[in-house]
Amino acid sequence: MRNRASNSLSKGKIRQSWSKYNLYNLQRLRSPATANRTFFQQKWSAKALGRAYHGEQVREGQWKRMFSKRIRSVIPMDTADLAADDGSKNSAGRGSGLQTQGEKGRPSRIIPFTQMAFAPLERRLDVAIFRSLFASSTRQARQFVIHGAVTVNGQKMRHPSYLLNPGDLFQVDPDRVMFATGAAKTKFERRETRQLKQKDEEDAEGDSEAKSEDAAETKPDAEKEDGRDTLKALMAQAKNIMSTDKEILPAKRKQELRGFQKAVRRVLSRSGTSTILTDNLEAQFSELTLMLNAKRAEKKPAKQTKQAKTDAEDSNAATSVESEAASDKLSEAFQAAAEGADVDASELTDEEFEVLKRALTQMRDNPIDNSKPYATPWRPRDFMSAFAFIPRYLEVNQNICAAVYLRHPVARPGSAEVPTPFGESISTPAYGWYLKRRW
């Protein structure tokens, strides 16, 4: 389907998209003028605006068939109120409850029914994927579905218009989600990817003998280097990685990360116990943490290590450590641990352990990987936070990029669950437009 949904500035239509053009349009959205316009004209422009956002990928006829004038709503009940009265008090007098002077009931909030006019569209699979923050626009969600990256209840579903039933579990390929929500690669990164690809192809052509020779050459080189220097550098890099300096350029950070990765690998290659020389970060990580934890447990079994929490507060505390001497100690201990010697690792502060652990976790969970279609290490795309909300009718697990459609969206006193950028001045005439059968 051709994408007619441009984010043009002159029309100023709002789309289900995280584009910055859309954000700007959203920001300057004003209710259409009603003065000197017939009721028909008002309804027409309201429904046009509404439909540009709600299901612009759905044909008008299709949507008209989906439209239902019945709107689901719920009232949150208070069990104490229910227990206090069997209803006869409410129906006393002339049928609406006896009112004594001075006594006031609770101010009743109205249920915004017309804000739910486009509720049936929220059942669609592509819209639900967008609402769960798995895609940056409904169009993209639609593409994910068509390209086979989405399963419903474990089965591949290739129809973006599949209407979810309450209890359906849908899952998107995590790589696609990271691509959709992550920052884009710069042209330099794209070039790196190209070069990597070319190199891989050349390597594949070259015979395996050359490879073994390379390995033999590199090994003695590594041994020649001073272990202590390596580890010092390692810790310095770990610290740099964890620093929150805003002015560091992404390229610089990346270099550091890469250096750190290399250093860790070198340490691992030197330690007697380790047999892991692979690129498998997972294995490296567990090996390193195991070594560190073992040393630590030996020395001070009584002292409890802090839980490795990645809360904002914790990390701030961890990153604020800035003493040079301490890092020296850490590097020494790390070196000793790496070489298998019995050295006092317990002198290290908890914070230092945290820093190292964090750097390692970071390396494992959010690595530099040029083969990915998004900028690595992953970071959210610009202006994502302005659109980040998850409606109540979905329960989302971001780790596995899966969500459950719990129920159909409902209105309740004071709020409506259908995410719509429009106020009542647009949704009411739009609902009125579809109430009348014109076909």
């Binding site: 700007y24 227990a83 006869s88 923050l133 990153t319 959010n366 899966a402």
Partner: protein
């Protein structure tokens, strides 16, 4: 094309570890000039409309704060009066960005249901989470564990970033009270209650929620000796929990409908009403009240479990599951019977096993839904 401008500085490469710093420095200096200076040799004006210029101006000034988020805070467009709120759309006051379950709370739900073997109903009341959501969370966490075990890739940095951007309901620390996530006793508005009915009642006789439900569904008035037994609408709960099929029907044919039950019965946690009533009636005997409540809960859970077991048995009758050792799959084998009764005289009955021969499939006719309408779990 928009001028492709590389932002000079990046807030945070490691959003889920350092989780600090949002960048608000305007890293895009003088956009318009840059787009014009790139074609200084040309006399034609830059293809920058007024609107585009305004947009980039806005993005580099007021909008620059929206570019990156501050962990733990929402970062939505500001309202008309310039205030920051939990409403993502400044024009729509009725849509609120509601908190989602935090990772710890999710794991706690899973722990209570799967490890402590508590019922979803009990956990729902404890943590203030809707029962459907409890079931979904258990399902999702279990799926996550399976994927972790298999070593499948996870979107961890993404998950961290999202949880920094949206409001979350935290898990209470020890000694704190768990904040409620959402209202758990939502009463769905029944379509029958939409009608405005003029119904005169005698003042001498109380008109309760039970009576109102009967009026809405067009059922005759309850007999006096029946209605006298019901002191409060929540008295009906116990019977209906045991036998949900015992609700009275009215009307005939297509118009047949069940009598609308009072709100005390239709809410997800009707026992809480009974508990509140008991508490009001016997304020001194707290222990007895609690005990009665637990008994009621147990009875309800037992009835629900029995019903579920019966349904599962009915579903799985005639089916057996085989897990061959050398296969990646398990096989569900269902018994079928091919006989004149099951396949019809000409062997073409639509309920016979297998796809049919010589019977037109109406899957392409006009008006039918061409895509799947449900996917079985």
């Amino acid at each position: 094309m928009a001028p492709r401008i590389q932002s000079r500085s990046v807030s945070n490469l490691l959003p889920y570890i350092t989780s600090s710093s949002s960048i608000t420095s305007s890293s895009i200096p003088s956009l318009c000039s840059s787009s014009q200076s790139s074609r200084y040799f040309s006399t034609t004006p830059a293809p920058q409309t007024k609107l585009r210029r305004q947009m980039f101006e806005w993005l580099s000034t007021q909008g620059s704060g929206l570019k990156h988020h501050t962990p733990g805070e929402t970062n939505y467009l500001r309202m008309a009066d310039g205030s920051q709120s939990n409403r993502p759309f400044p024009n729509n006051m009725t849509f609120i960005s509601e908190p989602v379950l935090s990772e710890e709370l999710r794991n706690e739900v899973y722990f209570r249901v799967k490890e402590q073997k508590k019922s979803p109903r009990a956990v729902s009341v404890e943590l203030g989470i809707d029962m459907n959501r409890i079931a979904a969370v258990v399902r999702l966490v279990e799926l996550e564990r399976r994927q972790r075990d298999k070593g499948k890739p996870l979107a961890l940095p993404y998950a961290r970033a999202v949880h920094e951007m949206v409001p979350t309901t935290p898990l209470a620390q020890a000694g704190e009270r768990q904040p409620y996530h959402e209202p758990i006793n939502d009463l769905p508005v029944h379509p029958l209650t939409g009608a405005q009915i003029f119904y005169p009642v005698p003042e001498s006789r109380p008109f309760t929620r039970v009576d109102a439900g009967r009026v809405f569904s067009g059922a005759p008035k309850l007999e006096k000796k029946v209605s006298d037994k019901i002191t409060h609408p929540s008295d009906l709960v116990d019977d209906l929990v045991q036998k949900p099929g015992s609700i009275e029907w009215v009307g005939k044919g297509d118009n047949a409908r069940q009598v609308l039950q009072p709100a005390d019965v239709r809410i997800p946690h009707p026992q809480l009403v009974q508990l509140a009533r008991d508490r009001a009636a016997f304020p001194e005997e707290r222990r007895t009240v609690t005990q009665r409540h637990t008994e009621r809960l147990e009875r309800q859970e037992k009835a629900e479990k029995e019903r579920a077991a019966r349904a599962a048995e009915r579903r799985n009758r005639n089916t057996e599951t085989i897990d061959p050792k050398d296969s990646r799959f398990s096989f569900r084998i269902k018994d079928a019977v091919v006989s004149e009764e099951t396949v019809g005289k000409n062997g073409r009955a639509p309920w016979a096993p297998g796809r049919r021969y010589g019977v037109p499939t109406n899957d392409r006719t006009r008006g039918t839904v061409k895509i799947p309408t449900r996917v079985n779990v």
